[in-house]
Symmetry: C2
């Protein structure tokens, strides 16, 4: 049982992944990949995380004066890290049942027939969820938060396009798409877990 | 509890709707709307069904010679019927809990806070399901079936655009999107029903 979770920023997808892993008794793979790559390369974990998230190009803010800025794509040296991440994903998948959030794992691991879930939500409920992420998000205005969400989701889409032939978030890539707008994640994860258990039993 | 089911042609969406109605003990609304409108207007039920499905424009095949043809959009006189259908949908929704398949009911009934589900599948499994629909579909080649599917889905998208501000099939319109590629519908409907029951309990 391999479950890949893709998600819009602020939709609670990471929480869905963690809770699904708990409910189904699976390993939750996230930081392990970053830690392994950082150790192998004597790099800082945050730099590895950031580099992996950016894919092959990085968006660098170019500032004009105090407040006006735009983002420009700059090529990164991350291809080695990305290739290593792919191998690691496959190693984890071979080791046994697990839940993997992000990293285009649904495409990278397609030979392992994962259950692919996409988690999304309305803008307003994503803003509410984002505010609870940390002090940084708490301090942002709605417009700033919205801009941040868009930037992160477009990074994810760009990253996904390195591997997938269909766009990130296109429902045809996934087995189930869950809109988390109306509820607390923990309230409905048992039902999603039941669905996945059943899917593994009845699928042809 | 009002459930609207939107679906790609061949994905088994109608079966999902019927079985959900059974599982949850709800009325299944489908033919009643056509029958009522046909009786009110002394029209043939099939003509009413066809007219409603086409929306405000109808696609008429224009033939050249024996086999070559293309479709052209021709305006229909269906606006009266469409308005009546809207009123009927609301009447059914007010009468009590029900499942409604198609008819852009998710948008028309948005004031009733329906649970909105979208049912879709891979092309290959839709072709397999389509073949079982009837003798007409059984006789078509894969390519002809694919063309028929595309035509019907694009009719649905066009119809939806009369009511919705976002495109038909865009996951943001729905609370749950279910990919039925890998299994028999009846095998997994109880899990979908559980999800919906839970959703009604925990939503804010």
């Amino acid at each position: 049982m391999i479950i890949t979770v893709s998600r819009e920023f602020g939709s609670g997808g990471r929480e869905v992944g963690k809770r699904l892993a708990d409910a189904l008794g699976l390993n939750y793979i996230d930081r392990e990949i970053v830690t392994t790559i950082a150790n192998e390369n004597n790099m800082n974990e945050d730099v590895v995380e950031e580099t992996l998230a950016q894919g092959l190009v990085s968006r660098v803010p170019i500032h004009y004066g105090r407040s006006f800025y735009y983002y420009q794509n700059v090529p990164t040296m991350s291809s080695q890290l990305l290739i290593r991440q792919q191998t690691l994903l496959k190693e984890f998948a071979m080791k046994g049942d697990c839940v993997i959030v992000g990293r285009a794992a649904d495409v990278v691991l397609e030979d392992y027939d994962p259950f692919r879930i996409f988690v999304y939500a309305d803008l307003s409920s994503k803003i509410v969820r984002c505010r609870k992420l940390g002090p940084e998000e708490e301090a942002l205005s709605d417009r700033e938060l919205e801009r941040k969400m868009k930037r992160i989701d477009s990074d994810r889409a760009r990253y996904y396009s390195l591997y997938g032939s269909t766009p990130w978030g296109d429902k045809s890539n996934y087995d189930l798409c869950v809109n988390t707008s109306a509820f607390e994640i923990k309230e409905i994860v048992p039902q999603i877990a039941d669905y996945i258990r059943r899917w593994y039993i009845v699928r042809k």
